[in-house]
C-alpha cells in the first residue's frame, strides 16, 4: 500500500463512513515506512524495512461500541472492516461512560514533515552504522548502536464531519561505545524530525569520549549529592510524572495531585519557581500531530506547570463532561524552559557534584509520592571545583520527580530528547539539582 495523500485519505474515510449502518462512525488511518539498522560488536547484526498502512474503524449503536482494523484498502476489505466493527459493537455491553463522537475541530497543522528524513534510504542507514563503527574502531572501542527512521501520515475522520490529515517524519539514534575490556562505557542519544539536524559522527564521538573517560571508575559513598543531570538522564523521570496529571485520578484520591479531604491540587505551587513546563504541538524543535488520535480532539498549547504551580490537568472527554470542564487533545510533546548554559558550563559552576549521562530501568516504587527507582549508566563522573575529576561507579537512586523539581539550583539550555518508555517528544534542559538521593552502588559498567 502506498502512502495516501490528503485527497486519497479523505476518499477512503468517506467511503468507510458511507458503508456504516451504525449510529456513528469514526475512522483513523496510519501509514508509515520504518527503516532501521542495528549493530553490535562493531558489526551490523540486523537491518530492516517495514511498510504498513492500517485503517481502524470504530462504530457505535447507542452506548455499544466496536472496533475493527484492516491493512487492505479494496472495497471488499473496507466493507469487511465496517461489518466486523458492527459485529463487535453488537456483542459489547453498554458502556455507561461512552462519549458520543466529537464535533468538527479546527486542526492547525504543525510542521512535522521533513523531505530530508523522508529521503533516507538503506545506503544512508549503512553509512550511519559505518561512521559510528569506524570512529569506535579507530579508538580501539566496541560500538553497539541502533538507527531508525520513519515517514508516514495520519488521518482521522468521523460521521460528525471531523477530518484531519498530516504527514510526519522522525529519526532516532542511540549508540553505546565500550572499551574492549569492559571497564568503560559511553552512550549518546539523538532524536529529530529533520535529518538535516542529525550528525552520526558528532553523536558517536560523544559516546566515544564518555567511554574513554569512564574507565577505572572509583566508588563514591551512596548519599545525597548535587547532581548535574543531562537531559537524557531526566527525560524518563520527568516523563513518568505526567501520567499522574490525570484529573480523574487526582479527583478520586489516587494521585500525588489529590487534595486532602477531596478534590485536586490545581493551582497549587508544588515545585521550584524555575519550573515551567508546557505542551505545544507547533514548537519547531519538537512538532507533533495537531490532534490526539485516540480522542480526535485538537491539541492546544497548554501550560502544565508555570512558575512551579500546577497550571492544568488532563481531562478525558468523559471526566470533563462529568466535572463540567473542557477536554482537549492529549499532549504529544513536553517542553521545559531553561537558561542559556551548556552542560559544561553547569559543571564549571559546581564545587562538588556528580554528572549523570543516562538513567536506566526506572520504575514506580510508590505512586503516592511518585517515588521512582533506577540507576545511572554509561558515564557517571565526580565533579570538583568546576571540573570532572574522575569517573565514579554507577548508583541506584530512589527519588521523586516532585522532590527533584523542588531542588533545582540551575537549569541549562534545553535540547530535544526522544523518550524510551515515555510517550512524549521532549525538549528539556540539563539540570543542576541538589540533594539527589543515591541509595546504593552498582558495579555494572
Amino acid at each position: 500500500m502506498k502512502m495516501l495523500n490528503q485527497e486519497e485519505a479523505k476518499r477512503v474515510c468517506d467511503k468507510v463512513m458511507a458503508l456504516s449502518k451504525a449510529d456513528e462512525c469514526r475512522v483513523q488511518i496510519s501509514g508509515n515506512r520504518r527503516g532501521n539498522i542495528r549493530y553490535a560488536r562493531n558489526s551490523v547484526s540486523t537491518a530492516g524495512l517495514v511498510e504498513n498502512t492500517q485503517l481502524t474503524v470504530s462504530v457505535a449503536f447507542g452506548k455499544r461500541q466496536g472496533t475493527a482494523s484492516v491493512n487492505e484498502f479494496d472495497d471488499k476489505s473496507l466493507e469487511k472492516a465496517v461489518r466486523r466493527a458492527e459485529e463487535v459493537a453488537r456483542l459489547a455491553p453498554e458502556n455507561p461512560e461512552f462519549v458520543p463522537a466529537i464535533k468538527t475541530q479546527l486542526y492547525k497543522g504543525s510542521n512535522t514533515y521533513s523531505a530530508a528524513t523522508a529521503a533516507i534510504d538503506p545506503e544512508y542507514r549503512a553509512e550511519v552504522a559505518a561512521q559510528s563503527i569506524n570512529s569506535a574502531r579507530k579508538k580501539g572501542l566496541v560500538a553497539a548502536g541502533f538507527f531508525s527512521d520513519s515517514t508516514g501520515f495520519e488521518t482521522v475522520a468521523n460521521s460528525n464531519g471531523v477530518f484531519g490529515y498530516q504527514t510526519l517524519t522522525n529519526l532516532g539514534f542511540t549508540v553505546t561505545t565500550r572499551t574492549e575490556d569492559g571497564r568503560g562505557s559511553g552512550w549518546v542519544t539523538r532524536s529529530a524530525n529533520d535529518a538535516a539536524k542529525f550528525d552520526a559522527r558528532e553523536a558517536s564521538d560523544v559516546a566515544i569520549e564518555k567511554a574513554l573517560k569512564s574507565v577505572d571508575a572509583k566508588a563514591l559513598e551512596p548519599g545525597r549529592y548535587t547532581v548535574i543531570l543531562e537531559p537524557a538522564a531526566t527525560s524518563e523521570i520527568i516523563g513518568r510524572m505526567f501520567g499522574a496529571f490525570d484529573a480523574r485520578q487526582a479527583d478520586e484520591g489516587r494521585s500525588f495531585l489529590s487534595k486532602k479531604g477531596g478534590g485536586n491540587r490545581l493551582g497549587e505551587k508544588l515545585f521550584d519557581e524555575q519550573v515551567n513546563l508546557w505542551a505545544d504541538p507547533w514548537n519547531t524543535d519538537v512538532p507533533v500531530l495537531a490532534w490526539d488520535n485516540a480522542s480526535m480532539l485538537a491539541r492546544e498549547r497548554t501550560d502544565v506547570i508555570k512558575g512551579g504551580k500546577i497550571e492544568s490537568l488532563d481531562y478525558t472527554q468523559y471526566w470533563a463532561q462529568k466535572q463540567d470542564k473542557r477536554a482537549f487533545g492529549r499532549h504529544g510533546n513536553m517542553i521545559m524552559s531553561g537558561g542559556g548554559k551548556s552542560t559544561e558550563e553547569l559543571i564549571a559552576s559546581t564545587k562538588k557534584g556528580v554528572l549523570v549521562t543516562r538513567t536506566w530501568y526506572i520504575r514506580m516504587v510508590d505512586p503516592q509520592s511518585l517515588l521512582l527507582t533506577g540507576l545511572t549508566r554509561d558515564g557517571t563522573f565526580y565533579i570538583e571545583n568546576g571540573k570532572i575529576k574522575h569517573p565514579i561507579k554507577n548508583f541506584r537512586f530512589n527519588e521523586s520527580p516532585v522532590t527533584m523539581l523542588n531542588n533545582i539550583d540551575e537549569l541549562g539550555k534545553p535540547v530535544v530528547i526522544g523518550g524510551d518508555e515515555v510517550r512524549f517528544q521532549m525538549m528539556i534542559p540539563p539540570m543542576k539539582v541538589r540533594d539527589f538521593n543515591f541509595t546504593s552502588l552498582s558495579d555494572a559498567v
Binding site: 542495528r38 560488536r41 486532602k260
Partner: protein, 545 residues
C-alpha cells in the same frame, strides 16, 4: 525487562477510538478457522526455493497467525473488548555469511518469493560490514510435525459475555470488600506458527496463553493516602479451565495470611482478598529499615529470578549484542569457563526448560526448528551454562542449539529469548510455616511489586504486594513501604533454605521486552518459597509538598 505496550489497550476507553496493538481486530467466530497446513507448506517452499536460487546458503520461513482477545474492565463497567488478528510471513536467510530478513503480509507465492529475494539482497549488503560469518549449529530436519499447547477449554469458544461477567464480578467482590476502585483485565493469546527451513523441517504449532491481572485501590480521603494490591495469579500457557479452580488448587500462605493458587485460579476470590488487603495496607506499620531474613513466596520470587538469573544468563547479552539497550551481563564467559563461579549458595540449582506443561515458554520447537529441551544453568550454586541459539552454540562449545530462538511476530526477526528458568525445590521436606519458625527477624513477601536492576543484572531493588513482619519464628503484623536491595551474587549466596517440591509454583512475565526494535516475549519461572538471610531492606515512604 518488562515493557508497557499492553497498557495502550486499556488506555483507549470512554468512547475513544481504539487502536489494537497486536494486529487487526476480527470477529470472534473467525478465530477458529486455521490456515490449511498444505497452503503454508507451499508458501514456505516458494520462499525457500527463491532464496536458494538467489544464492542463500540457508533459509527459514515463519508463517504466523496471531489471535488475541483483550477485555478491560473498570469498576462495574466493561471498557473494551478487542479481538485482533495478525498474519504474515517472515523469511530469514544466510547469504555471503550474513543474515538477511524480510517479511510480508501478502500471503501469495509471488509475494513470499519476492520477500525471500529481498532478504538475500539485505544479507549481501550486511555481509560487507560483517566481521565473521554466521555459524549455525546443526539441526536435524524433522519433516512434517505438529505440536499444540495441551488445554481442555478453548478460550476462543467461551462467550465474551461470560468472560466480561467474571471480570465485573471480581471487581464487585473487591469493591464490596473495601476497595474504592477495581480494574481487571483478561489477555488471551493464540499463536499459530508454521516453521520451515532448508534443513528439512515443516513444523506446525498452536500455542495458547492467558493472563488476568487485577488491581484493587483503596483511598482514605481524610489522610489523603491510597494503596493498591495487585492480583496474585500468574499468566499461564493453558486453556480457559485455568479459571475453574477446585479446592485442591487453593491453599493458605504461611501463617494463613492469604490464599494462594496452583494450577488454576479463582479470580473473584482473589479480587475480594485484594479489596480487603488494599484497605488494610492504608494502616499497616511502616517498615524499619535494616537487615532482615526474607522469606519470599514464588508469586514474588519469580520476578527476582527473571531479572537476576534469567536475563543475566542470556548469551547474546554476555557477548554484547544487547549492549546498547537491555545491556550486557556480569556473568561473563571467563566466570563460566572457570567452572567455579559461585553464583549462589550450594542449595541453588537453576534449570532452563521449555518442556514443562503450563509454562509460558513451553513449545514443541523454537523459532529455529530446534526441539524443546531442559538443561542446567546453575548447579549446586556454580554457573555451568547459558541460553543459546543456533548461531551462538559454538561459542560455549555446544554441539547443538539449546532452542532459545523466538520472534514476537511474523514480521519480526527471531533472536535469543529466555526459556523458563526455574529454581529447583529443596530436597528435604520443608513447608513455608516450618521455614518461618527459624526466622528471628524477617519479612515474608508475597506478590510482584516494583522491580529494577542494572544493565549488567547485578544491583537490584524489588518490592512486593504483601509484606508481613516475622519475629522469633512467628508472623506478627502487616508491613508497608518495603523494598529490598542487593546484588545478584550476594543475594543468591544468601539463600539459606528452600521449601520442598510440594510448594513449587510458577510465576510468569507476559510482556518481557528486549531487542531493537523492541520485541516482547513471555516466560515462566518456578520456585518454592525460599529464604535469604541478612538482606538490606529500605523504607520507601516519602513526604512530598
Amino acid at each position: 525487562m518488562e515493557r508497557r505496550s499492553f497498557l495502550k489497550v486499556g488506555a483507549a476507553a470512554g468512547g475513544s477510538l481504539l487502536i489494537p496493538v497486536f494486529g487487526n481486530a476480527i470477529a470472534a467466530e473467525e478465530l477458529l478457522n486455521p490456515m490449511a497446513v498444505q497452503f503454508k507448506k507451499s508458501l514456505a517452499d516458494a520462499a525457500m526455493n527463491a532464496a536458494t536460487k538467489a544464492g542463500a546458503s540457508y533459509c527459514d520461513v515463519r508463517i504466523g497467525r496471531y489471535l488475541n482477545q483483550f477485555i478491560t474492565t473498570r469498576d462495574l463497567n466493561v471498557e473494551n473488548i478487542v479481538n485482533t488478528e495478525s498474519s504474515g510471513v517472515g523469511v530469514r536467510v544466510i547469504a555471503g555469511g550474513a543474515y538477511g530478513f524480510c517479511s510480508t503480509n501478502v500471503m501469495t507465492l509471488d509475494s513470499v518469493a519476492e520477500a525471500a529475494r529481498q532478504a538475500v539482497a539485505i544479507a549481501r549488503a550486511n555481509a560487507k560490514l560483517q566481521s565473521e560469518p554466521v555459524q549455525l549449529a546443526p539441526v536435524k530436519g524433522v519433516g512434517d510435525v505438529a505440536w499444540a499447547t495441551p488445554f481442555k477449554k478453548d478460550w476462543r469458544t467461551v462467550p465474551i459475555k461470560e468472560k466480561a461477567e467474571m471480570l465485573i464480578a471480581a471487581n464487585k467482590a473487591g469493591m464490596d470488600a473495601g476497595a474504592n476502585f477495581m480494574q481487571s483485565m483478561l489477555f488471551q493469546v493464540n499463536q499459530q506458527k508454521y516453521f520451515a527451513s532448508t534443513d528439512g523441517s515443516y513444523i506446525d504449532q498452536d500455542m495458547h496463553r492467558l493472563w488476568s491481572p487485577l488491581t484493587a485501590t483503596a483511598v482514605d480521603k481524610a489522610t489523603n493516602r491510597f494503596r493498591t494490591r495487585d492480583g496474585l495469579s500468574s499468566p499461564v500457557s493453558m486453556g480457559y479451565e485455568f479459571f475453574d479452580a477446585k479446592p485442591e488448587n487453593k491453599f493458605k500462605a504461611a501463617g494463613g495470611v492469604t490464599t494462594l493458587y496452583k494450577g488454576a485460579y479463582d479470580l473473584i476470590e482473589d479480587a475480594r482478598a485484594a479489596g480487603r488487603q488494599a484497605r488494610e495496607k492504608l494502616t499497616a506499620k511502616s517498615v524499619e529499615p535494616g537487615k532482615y531474613d526474607l522469606v519470599l513466596s514464588p508469586e514474588h520470587l519469580f520476578l527476582t529470578i527473571h531479572e537476576s538469573v534469567g536475563h543475566a544468563t542470556e548469551l547474546d547479552r554476555v557477548l554484547g549484542y544487547e549492549a546498547n539497550y537491555a545491556g550486557t551481563s556480569f556473568a561473563t564467559l571467563d566466570k563460566w569457563q572457570s567452572k567455579k563461579f559461585k553464583y549462589g549458595s550450594e542449595r541453588v540449582n537453576f534449570v532452563a526448560d521449555r518442556t514443562t506443561s503450563g509454562s509460558l515458554a513451553c513449545v514443541g520447537y523454537d523459532d529455529e526448528g530446534v526441539p524443546a529441551k531442559r538443561w542446567d544453568i546453575i548447579k549446586d550454586g556454580i554457573l555451568v551454562n547459558y541460553q543459546a541459539t543456533r548461531d551462538q552454540a559454538h561459542v560455549i562449545g555446544e554441539k547443538e542449539s539449546q532452542g532459545c530462538s523466538y520472534a514476537d511476530s511474523w514480521s519480526s526477526v527471531q533472536f535469543q529469548r529466555m526459556p523458563n528458568v526455574s529454581l529447583q525445590a529443596g530436597k528435604k521436606p520443608l513447608t513455608p510455616d516450618d521455614m518461618i519458625k527459624d526466622v528471628k527477624k524477617g519479612i515474608y513477601i508475597l506478590g510482584r511489586g516494583s522491580f529494577s536492576i542494572d544493565q549488567q543484572r547485578y544491583n537490584f531493588q524489588f518490592g512486593g504486594q504483601l509484606y508481613f513482619e516475622i519475629k522469633n519464628g512467628k508472623i506478627t503484623n502487616p508491613l508497608e513501604d518495603v523494598a529490598y536491595q542487593s546484588n545478584t551474587q550476594e543475594f543468591w549466596n544468601a539463600c539459606s533454605a528452600l521449601c520442598d517440591e510440594r510448594d513449587w509454583r510458577m510465576g510468569g512475565s507476559f510482556f518481557d521486552g528486549k531487542g531493537q526494535p523492541s520485541q516482547v516475549s513471555c516466560v515462566s519461572h518456578g520456585s518454592p518459597t525460599t529464604r535469604f538471610n541478612g538482606i538490606n531492606v529500605i523504607n520507601t515512604a516519602r513526604k512530598i509538598g
